[in-house]
């Protein structure tokens, strides 16, 4: 009897407790952590060297200790790279290329996004004859390497008198981005319920009015995704810039390459590192400000809302 009561008491007391085993890091997750750490170091070590070198003086660099921190922190290299580094015979620094890149970026962005957005809208939501065939063609085009069509593009841009200036670069960017961007917009718009489109067709029936009043306001998420993609790819592009920019309108990347591949005198590592960082920073700033929206945009179409 007493034993039974005791047992009951123990049971009552222990009832609310559900002790759980302490989680131990398994060997598998240790493996993953090590692998990821190596990956991270793979990116971080060069970045570390680039950043600290850009703040060093040439004297310290010549001493050779690559990983040591600058003995004197200086912005001299940054200033020199921006204002007076030589690219060929022009010694106006990287800022020339920067402003060229900015001037290329905006028309390229507007042109490529506007054209592909409207094409995607038409293909997804209106009855376009041969839309299927057109989509297939776009799909194929998305896989054609730029190098293959470079020469025809040069003579085409020359024929419409835009070769060698900013508009040439912008138009080529827009043309090359169009297949992928059109497919992205088309797939995004395909998820808009048919009934909304039917209602709009009965209410207004106007292609442009429906686009500007109904569809465009619904495109916020995908616009951010495409904007980031395009800013990054246009800013980081080298080949289109060097091919179509001519002498006067080469983008920052071309400017940077000329600046680094200088063949006379000693290599000014600190200038080169600073210049590389200056070229890389603008897309980073964009990521920093809209990165959060970017992630939202990517998953926006994933679940039907």
């Amino acid at each position: 009897m007493a034993q039974k009561a005791l047992g009951a008491e123990v049971a009552v007391r222990s009832a609310p407790y559900f002790p759980r085993q302490k989680k131990r890091i398994s060997s598998r997750s240790i493996g993953i952590i090590v692998f990821l750490s190596i990956c991270a170091l793979f990116f971080c070590i060069p970045l570390y060297v680039v950043v600290i070198t850009s703040f060093k003086t040439m004297e310290q660099i010549r001493q050779g200790a690559m990983f040591s921190l600058p003995s004197v922190w200086t912005l001299e290299a940054w200033d020199h790279a921006w204002n007076s580094a030589c690219s060929g015979i022009n010694c106006n620094g990287l800022k020339v290329g920067f402003w060229n890149s900015v001037q290329i970026l905006f028309p390229s962005l507007i042109l490529s996004i506007a054209i592909s957005m409207i094409t995607g809208y038409a293909l997804a939501l209106w009855n376009v004859r041969w839309a299927g065939g057109f989509l297939f063609l776009l799909f194929i085009c998305a896989f054609v390497p730029f190098q293959i069509i470079m020469f025809p593009l040069i003579s085409m841009t020359a024929a419409i008198k835009v070769y060698g200036n900013i508009w040439g670069v912008a138009i080529v960017h827009a043309v090359l981005a169009m297949p992928v961007l059109t497919l992205i917009f088309r797939n995004y718009y395909k998820d808009i319920p048919q009934e909304i489109m039917n209602a709009a067709v009965m209410d207004s029936g106007s292609f442009w009015k429906i686009f500007t009043e109904i569809i465009l306001p619904m495109s916020g998420n995908i616009l951010i995704v495409v904007l980031i993609m395009q800013i990054t790819s246009i800013w980081n592009d080298y080949l289109i810039g060097v091919t179509f920019g001519g002498m006067g309108s080469q983008p920052m990347t071309v400017n940077l390459a000329n600046l680094i591949t200088i063949s006379t005198g000693t290599t000014r590592y600190n200038d080169n590192m600073a210049a590389a960082l200056q070229t890389a920073i603008p897309p980073l700033v964009i990521y920093f400000f809209v990165g959060k929206l970017f992630v939202q945009g990517i998953t926006a179409g994933a679940i039907k809302g």
């Binding site: 209602a199 067709v201 209410d203 106007s206 009043e213």
Partner: protein, 366 residues
């Protein structure tokens, strides 16, 4: 003069015919319900009228205007969709206003109409809200409002209540009925819900397999189903349909069940004279049965059948009996249903003059 008419409408998707030589005319002020199971072509027919689909063959008239090749916005129609189809980035006001964007009205007229519709539908406090911040019923009101502001003669409804819960559905049903009674618009309303059809319609077109099975008032459809499909589709529980043999002898017409029960049909108004010995389908409505003894005088037949089970659906109850290895559904008083024990043998009478007969081969009413 018919307000809307479909003339020899054919619609095929690729090789698949959906509608074939369909004719239908709707009078001004009619509330027509297109009723049928999924895939019967009722929504296709509505979309053809709206202009959202192109007809393969035939002609659609609205008033005396041939609208077959007219743009949807120019047809003088307004439509309410199943999913409401509100523009998510616009406020309620913006939604109503966009409904008028094709009409190029002066600004004060636009304002006047929006104010009128908002007042009529009691959505005035919601005008500044986005659709995401509205309940299902409110969204449906806005969708109806967007159609109302257009001030057109013909309204199209595509299963507008099927996304609402049961209580709201009943409320909105009355609301739409009330709107029709006040505004007298011509309405074409698509649904698969027979209660909506029976309660709201002035005319019902029952469709199946792309063919209009019967076109008539709700009473005609219910009382005089034209064929087996309509008979089985309308009514809940469904009409009991049984194979019987006709017996015409000594001036008496009877239907003979396999089990030998004789069903009196002398008062049935045959469209063609009955032939002795033909197999026909007899349709018996669940509500025309009487359970219990003592009412045999005005009954067409009496069955002695065992109870299978009874269920109460609220104010009504249904009881199921076994007749010739098949269930026989009856509507009974809840008090009676409560007294029925499974397996118990009960006499069941069917009222005189309430039977339906269909040709066993063609399925047409006899």
């Amino acid at each position: 003069m018919p307000q809307v008419s479909f003339e020899h409408i054919t619609k095929t998707y690729g090789q698949v015919p959906v509608l074939k030589d369909l004719n239908l005319a709707i009078n001004d002020g009619d509330f027509l319900v297109l009723l049928g199971p999924s895939g019967c072509g009722k929504t296709t027919l509505l979309n053809l009228l709206a202009g959202l689909l192109d007809v393969t063959d035939g002609r659609i008239m609205i008033g005396d205007r041939d609208v077959t090749d007219v743009d949807p916005k120019d047809r003088g129609l307004a439509m309410v969709f199943q999913s409401y189809a509100l523009y998510p980035t616009k406020t309620v006001y913006g939604n109503l206003k966009f409904g008028l964007s094709a009409s190029k009205l002066p600004k004060d007229e636009v304002e006047r109409r929006i104010a009128w519709a908002a007042k009529l539908l009691q959505i005035e406090p919601l005008l500044d809200r986005k659709p995401a911040h509205l309940s299902g019923g409110q969204r449906q009101r806005v969708a109806i409002g967007r159609a109302l502001v257009k001030n057109v003669g013909v309204f199209l409804f595509d299963e507008p209540l099927s996304n609402l819960d049961a209580k709201l559905r009943t409320e909105m049903r009355l609301e739409i009925k009330k709107l029709h009674d006040t505004l007298h618009h011509t309405i074409v309303y698509v649904t698969h819900d027979q209660i909506e059809a029976m309660t709201m319609a002035t005319k019902i077109a029952v469709m199946n397999g792309g063919v209009i099975q019967q076109f008539g008032t709700p009473d005609e459809i219910y009382e005089q189903p034209a064929n087996l499909f309509v008979a089985g589709f309308i009514g809940s529980p469904a009409m009991n349909l049984r194979r019987v043999t006709l017996s015409v002898a000594n001036g008496k017409t009877e239907a003979v069940f396999a089990s030998g029960v004789r069903f009196e049909l002398s008062d049935y108004r045959f469209m063609t004279p009955p032939q002795d010995g033909t197999t026909v389908t007899l349709g018996l409505r669940p509500e025309h049965f009487l359970v219990g003894a003592g009412t045999a005088a005005d009954s067409a037949a009496t069955f002695e059948v065992p109870v299978q089970y009874a269920e109460r659906t609220g104010p009504d109850a249904s009881a199921y009996f076994v007749l010739e290895n098949d269930l026989l559904a009856l509507r009974v008083e809840p008090a009676v249903a409560a007294g029925l024990k499974p397996g118990q043998l009960v006499p069941v009478h069917y009222l005189k003059g309430k039977a339906h007969l269909f040709d066993a081969q063609t399925g047409q009413r006899m």
